[in-house]
Amino acid sequence: MEINSFKKNILEKKYSRRSIIIGASQLILVGFLIKQMRQIQLNETEKYRLLAEENRIDIQIIPPLRGLIFDNDGTLLAKNKENYRIRIVKDKDSNLSKVIDDFSKIINIRDERKIQILKKLQEQRSKSSTIIADNVNWYEFKKIVANLPSLPGIIPEVELQRYYTQSEILAHLLGYVGSISSKDIKRISNDDPILQIEDFKIGKVGIEKGLDKFLRGQVGLSKYEVNASGKVIRKLSEKQSISGKDIHLTIDSNLQKFSMLRIKDFSASVVVINLMNGSISAMVSNPSYNPNKFVEGMSQEDWDVLRKSKNQPLANKAISGNYPPGSTFKMIVAIAALEENLISPDDIFECNGFYELEGRKFHCWKYSGHGNTNLLKGLEESCDVYFYNLAERVGIDSIAKIAKKFGIGISPDLPLSGISKGLMPSKNWKKINKKQSWFTGDTLNSGIGQGFILSSPIQIAIMTSRIATGLEIKPTLIKAIDGRPVTYDQKKSLGIKKRTLDIIRKAMFGVVNNKKGTAFNSRVVEVKNNLAGKTGTSQVRQITEDERKKGIIKNEDLPRNQRDHALFTGYAPNINPKFSISVVIEHGGGGGKVAAPIARDILLYALNGNMPSLEAYPFEERNNVDKILNSIKREMISK
């Protein structure tokens, strides 16, 4: 018994030891729990607090209203119009394809579009939605609203959509808005909450793009507390959206419309600059397109037609066109010669119809030649041989220096897309870009605005504006942003001698008003509105010696797309000029014959502020002009 109780005692001790081990192990395990809780609750608490807030708060973005665009007189050009549209929401209880079929009985949806919608909804997570019908008319919208009980998941909504009141007339200038593309995202900073708005539209081209940062506005944010199923519990805070800023343009929409109608038969562009303040009064490019179609969503066929059309309706030729300036460039050559004191206006060169350089003939447009020619005659009658001589004497680098001073080969600073820089070549330029040295023949070609030189219509208008004023006119499009006028310094002198400019102006007056001038038929007989300018014909192709011998020299005999571009640039009135203009008619033929009359009519409209009166025109022209003006008048009223 003794031994037994002793054994029992040992056993007791063993039991006790083991319960202590068990208790201790359990406490160690509890220690691990506390360690883990410390890690989550104390060390990582910031991280999890943030996540809890993200869970709890749903931020809804309130899209801002896009700023409006007005013309110089306050006419509304781009506004925000109600768009009735229908949204379909994925609802786990409803049969989507049946709903779409039922919906299609009210507003027809094509089968492939149905499949598209279904696919889009199924790709997304729960609670997703998509637009099933856009730009619905009021009648259809009403019908959908009336049938809502039988269309689960269908939500009618009203959205504000961009609308361009002038449609084609201002398409190139205003541009249009469209959905954000991946390319746009790179432009906009990535954290702009605007990107999160479904279907948000931003400016894609034109003013809409160039001034998008003003027009776009700032989003508002509503913060809601939501539960796990996304149900809103309460509103936490709201920041109102800030509407985009309104823009007033310098464009005179009547003049714009008149200009558009005046060139409607041509692939052409016109730029009119107000010389009082350098503002652009009209900028027209024909053919045009309806920007509203881009906003509403364009069909593939319409898009293909626009894109593939030969006359490039999508391009704003007034700023993106690249044409040899032709004879309008002769003023630059003359100014360069006068400024460098290389000629006196009375120096005479003889024109026999061609200029021979190292055995190669450079022809004058006038086959028989102009005979003895001084500067005035050279410009008025646009004698090529005179300018071959002048150019050779001045040299390309001096010509280029003056050309750049007058804006040729310089990108104008405008809030538009697709602005062409043009090209003003120099010896250095040719060496770098063509890997060739500059030849005197290149200088001769440059002397008459051909060869490598390229310019856009707005550059030619800038050149003329600077000749007419002697000031460094920088064209502008914006009159005011958010009601605050935007002013630019246009009073800076070009630094060209007054005498030089006076000679050039006199010659430009002669071009239109001298009987032998190349634009004599386009003269204005009212003294107060006298026109000055310069014609130009820019060659699309060189006429070969062979062709000259065969006698096909007439431009009219060539196929249209090989015919010359007709140019005219000018200003009016002759004394204290108010407006300058440049007109480029693609494949129009001679500048004097085609471009000058258009420029005259548009300038007269600008000066008059209304339809020009017939008294301004030479008697023999009035019948013809009356017909043209009347047809435009009818169209302006009807549009």
């Binding site: 039991y15 006790s16 319960s19 359990q26 729990l33 539960n227």
Partner: protein, 368 residues
């Protein structure tokens, strides 16, 4: 009625504290709706509490006699579940008895502890570490474990096995056997993973998915790991002091799954912070320590082993629950004892404390 004075009053007091805290938390997660969870929970608690006290008065010898029957009863119920069980939460764990849904594995744990306690009480001390007498309790443990795992309930299976092993350890089985077990665990795990995708796969795909989620919770934050992610957000955002009673956004806004049952600890830690969570853990630990002390001082070897085993069950409840919601072990569906909403767990937990009370009351009753 002198027995009233022999009851372990500190444990009873702590049970009341934890239970009351539970009603408070259920009130909070129901967004201030007393009737939704707090009230039925209170009723069950009261019933269970009375049962606990009454069980404490009943002689330990009675429970001793009951022990084999409870074990066999548990085995029968588990077999029934396997063949006729009801699905709840993706697994077959419940038996429907009229309107009373009931999880037999809870009874099984208690039955196992009781049966092992009587086995070692009966076994002569000199035989304890003999291989034959070690093999018998291994079978006793393996049978319910094997019945529970295919439910599928890997977690409870592991808890049952670990409880049994702890009992064997407490009974004084030689250390060498436990070393063997420790060595066998990696081999067993390797075998489970090796069986994946074969015809003799040892655990179900559902269980494998749970394990995958545990190993890599970021793979699918809105899928299987959603619970753990949201639970950690709740814990972490609670910080040191918590967001305040009924101020936990994670639970109040329904981001937490099973916020009134398995994940209620998350709400506690979110609203009362690290202090609240650790405070609760310390109360639980104190209960365990009281129980182990009671066992230490118990002269009745059945009562002592019973107390150790039952307190181990209690420990496994709160340890596995908190370890799961803090992302330390896979989620297995173990409730937080005395707090999680649910009838059968509450009754079983209070029932085990009834047995512990009985062992405590009769701690001086020697049997020979």
């Amino acid at each position: 009625m002198g027995k009233v004075f022999y009851l372990h009053w500190p444990v009873i007091f702590l049970i009341l504290v934890v239970g009351s805290f539970g009603f408070l938390m259920l009130y909070s997660v129901s967004d201030g709706d007393y009737d939704q969870w707090s009230k039925p929970q209170f009723k069950r608690f009261m019933v269970g509490f009375v049962i606990m006290i009454l069980m404490g008065f009943i002689s330990i010898d009675f429970w001793r006699t009951c022990s084999p029957f409870v074990y066999v009863f548990g085995i029968i119920l588990l077999s029934l579940v396997l063949f006729f069980g009801d699905y709840g939460g993706g697994a077959k764990r419940w038996l429907e008895l009229r309107s009373f849904r009931f999880q037999p594995s809870e009874i099984m744990k208690v039955g196992l502890v009781m049966f092992l306690a009587i086995y070692y009480d009966w076994l002569k001390p000199k035989n304890i570490s003999k291989i034959f007498w070690v093999f018998i309790p291994v079978l006793i443990i393996a049978l319910p474990t094997a019945l529970v795992i295919p439910q599928p309930d890997l977690g409870t299976g592991v808890i049952i096995a670990m409880t049994g092993i702890t009992m064997m350890f407490a009974a004084g089985v030689h250390f060498i056997y436990f070393f063997i077990i420790i060595l066998l665990i990696p081999a067993f795990l390797a075998l489970i993973f090796y069986s994946r995708g074969t015809s003799w796969q040892l655990v179900t795909d559902y269980q494998f998915n749970r394990i995958d989620t545990y190993i890599n919770p970021d793979k699918d934050p809105l899928g299987g790991a959603y619970q753990i992610t949201q639970s950690k957000i709740a814990l972490g955002s609670g910080g040191l002091e918590g967001k305040g009673f009924m101020q936990g956004s994670q639970s109040q806004l329904d981001f937490l799954p099973y916020k009134h049952t398995d994940f209620i600890f998350t709400t506690i830690a979110e609203e009362f912070g690290f202090f609240g969570g650790v405070g609760l853990l310390l109360i639980y630990s104190t209960i365990i320590i009281f129980c182990l002390f009671s066992a230490y001082n118990n002269k009745n070897s059945f009562g002592r082993l019973l107390t150790i085993g039952l307190s181990t069950i209690f420990f496994s409840y709160f340890f596995v629950n908190i370890a799961a919601v803090t992302g330390m072990v896979p989620v297995t569906g173990v409730p937080l004892p005395l707090i999680s909403y649910g009838g059968s767990a509450m009754l079983v937990v209070l029932g085990t404390f009834g047995l512990i009370q009985s062992a405590h009351v009769h701690r001086l009753l020697k049997r020979d």
